[in-house]
Amino acid sequence: MKEKVISVTPETVVSQTLDMKKKGYRLVTLSCVELDADTLDILYHFDKDLDLMHLRLTAPKNKAVPSISSVYFASFLVENEIQDQFGIRFEGLVLDYDRTLYLEEEVRDAPCCRIAVSEEEKNKGE
């Protein structure tokens, strides 16, 4: 990507997001990409006066990552979407649909993952 990309960790993503908000950035959205059998990339896209900037969080599929919805309320919808599609959990979501935003309750696999981590494996990871 031609824009600036900052790498963050699960420990720093919320503070970094708060920093973006203080600088006047608008949250555009989050994008999730499956990297391999175990990991995902979550990209946080921000805009200020038409300039884009991204945060990149590489996270294991079987561990929850912190939600940024306490900083940017608008993120709750896309974080719920990612939970549905990729199975990764967001901790501290202000409105958690528990993977039923798009999916039915009985669906437990992740439709956008080529290689999904089952709920049992996730529980072990936590």
Binding site: T29, S31, C32, V33, D49, V78, L101, C112, R114
Partner: protein
């Protein structure tokens, strides 16, 4: 006062597409709103696994029929950036022409639906009658009334000859004349103002914090529009975003109405400056790398994230549509409003569930 929960939608006369809002009321006043989606989700993004990157243009065009041209344009623009393709100037201007025609037809469609939401049936029919001229332009220039499949990677697949541009301009003159006849009603009529002024207010700060997009953002006084990026040929055209400052349903209505005139002007200017030359270039190779690209749909900023791996199938295509961005702001507009105002306020963000549930 006891609280009542009213399920609003997914099937409701005011919604053209299924959206569900769980409204928590005290008496007739909305206190809380929880949205529910997923009634028509199609999982189109995953089709990158089985369709090659050229075929994905047709998929992107079907994310939403109303803004299909702009979706395809955004996708092609992203792939062109990944592959370092330089689009011919004529194609850039043609993309603006079809993009703005799509904006006029979308805004006229919405103005009609909005009028219908507050019970102004004759206004609804007038808006849609005028819109038919735009559908005729689509059919004559692109071969289809709704999905005008003109974008390809490297340019456009159709050209406009001088006879067609002259005829298009004549039709647009008629559209502008007929839209002007509606201006007094849409912007000044007592009933329209009574149902829209002060309803669903979204302040400038709320709009920015909640990530609003398009006329919903500009209706709150923020002069931001992706066309300011100068993509396609917008950098060579005179363009300033239309804004309105009150942040209510009336302001959002005003922005879309005035953008209809602006779109007509942009088509005229693009046709007057239309350069000669090729309309597309041959594209070789496969896309590799990551790109984020944005354009302005009729409903606002649409963002495509594309990741290519050097093969014919992309690794990931992520589409963030403007209605998806405008749902959190909607949740802020509704509390404090009367139940009877919910349809008008919800319609004022121009919700496109087809886009949202791509």
């Amino acid at each position: 006062m006891a609280r009542t929960i009213i399920p609003f939608g997914p099937q409701h006369p005011v919604f053209p597409e299924p959206l569900h809002l769980k409204l928590v009321l005290e008496d007739e006043i909305v206190k809380e709103v929880v949205p529910a989606l997923g009634f028509v989700h199609r999982g189109l993004e995953r089709l990158v696994e089985i369709r090659d990157f050229h075929q994905m243009i047709q998929i992107c065009e079907r994310v939403c029929g109303i803004c299909s041209t702009v979706h395809a344009q955004c996708y092609c623009q992203g792939i062109e950036e990944l592959m370092g393709v330089e689009v011919p100037d004529r194609a850039k201007f043609l993309r603006v022409i079809w993009g703005e025609i799509s904006r006029i037809q979308s805004h006229l469609l919405w103005l009609g639906l909005f009028a219908d939401a507050f019970g102004f049936e004759s206004l609804f029919m007038q808006c849609w009658r005028i819109r038919e001229r735009i559908m005729d332009i689509n059919e004559a220039t692109g071969g289809n009334r709704v999905i005008v499949s003109v974008n390809v990677i490297g340019g456009v697949r159709r050209d406009l000859d001088p006879d067609m541009t002259r005829w298009t301009l004549t039709q647009l003159d008629l559209v502008e004349k007929e839209v002007r006849q509606l201006e007094k009603v849409l912007l000044d009529d007592y009933t329209v103002r009574k149902r829209t002024v002060g309803k669903g207010v979204l302040t400038r700060d709320q709009a920015l914090e909640l990530g609003a997009a398009g006329p919903t953002l500009r209706g709150s006084g923020v002069a931001q529009d992706m066309r300011q990026l100068g993509y396609a040929a917008y950098g060579e055209l005179s363009y300033e975003p239309v804004t309105a400052g009150d942040g209510d349903a009336y302001s959002r209505n005003r922005v879309r109405f005035l953008e209809t005139y602006q779109a007509v002007e942009l088509v005229r200017e693009a046709i007057s400056k239309l350069p000669s030359g090729e309309i597309n270039v041959k594209v070789k190779g496969k896309p590799e790398g990551e790109v984020v690209t944005r354009v302005e749909q009729p409903r606002g900023e649409v963002m495509y994230y594309i990741k290519g791996n050097g093969s014919k199938n992309l690794d990931r295509l992520r589409i963030r549509t403007p209605t998806f961005a405008n749902i959190p702001p909607l949740l802020s507009m509704l509390p404090g409003m009367e139940l009877a105002d919910v349809p008008v306020i919800t319609l004022s963000i121009d919700p496109c569930i087809s886009c949202t549930e791509r």
